[in-house]
Symmetry: C2
Subunit: 134 residues, 2 copies
């Protein structure tokens, strides 16, 4: 099992070293090994867990809920159902968020079209003979 220094882990995971420390402090990372000098030693499975965290984080899950998920993950088989439900609820929220963004994007694109039209009209006024070339 390969092991990684804090610096390597930061680079691989995309979290800063400070964020890694912060995540350990609040309990999102647990059981991180130390070397004789007290420095953190990350494993492949730590990296995998960090990727999971990154995925949840980037889809807008609040830290508090990620904490709940990592507590469940520390539990055994009997927490599978709860974990599944948590992820499914989050998946639905992501779906809703995407739909909301799409909807708002339509409004923005409508505005964009309006401005494009206004600019066109303006151009036509400046050079009237271009008005028919629509």
């Amino acid at each position: 099992m390969t092991s990684y220094s804090p610096g390597e882990t930061a680079e691989k995971s995309g979290f800063s070293i400070d964020t890694l420390r912060y995540y350990e402090k609040i309990g999102l990372l647990s059981g991180i090994a130390r070397d004789t000098a007290g420095r953190r030693v990350f494993t492949d499975s730590d990296i995998a867990w960090l990727e999971m965290l990154r995925c949840l984080r980037e889809t807008g899950m609040p830290i508090a809920e990620m904490l709940r998920f990592s507590e469940l993950t520390r539990g055994g088989t009997e927490t599978y159902t709860a974990r599944l439900e948590l992820l499914r609820a989050h998946d639905r929220r992501v779906e809703d968020e995407i739909a909301r963004l799409r909807e708002q994007q339509r409004h923005i694109q409508f505005k964009i079209d309006r401005y494009a039209d206004l600019l066109n009209t303006e151009k036509s006024c400046l050079s009237p003979r271009a008005a028919n070339t629509t």
Copy 2:
């Protein structure tokens, strides 16, 4: 031209009265009329502008950029190109954000499937004869 009290405006726009005051203070709303008692009086075009702000806000545009957009809007025809560019850039960011969410959502759904499989396997162990009924 219909006019609206702060309370009505809050309800119609979805922003709280405090947020409306805050937006006026920082310059996102300008030229809001007052009645004789000094109370704000909003018009239909204020409401329309608030809808635009809501749209930009909910698609993740930072306040600083919304400020820039409202300054452009206060300018005349000669800012159309700049406004168009700003909106187009934002539209692209929204597009990217949606793509990013979709991509991360795939990872989450992969995890969901894994947990669902694990639960199935577990069930099969408890009642072995169900193992073939895949």
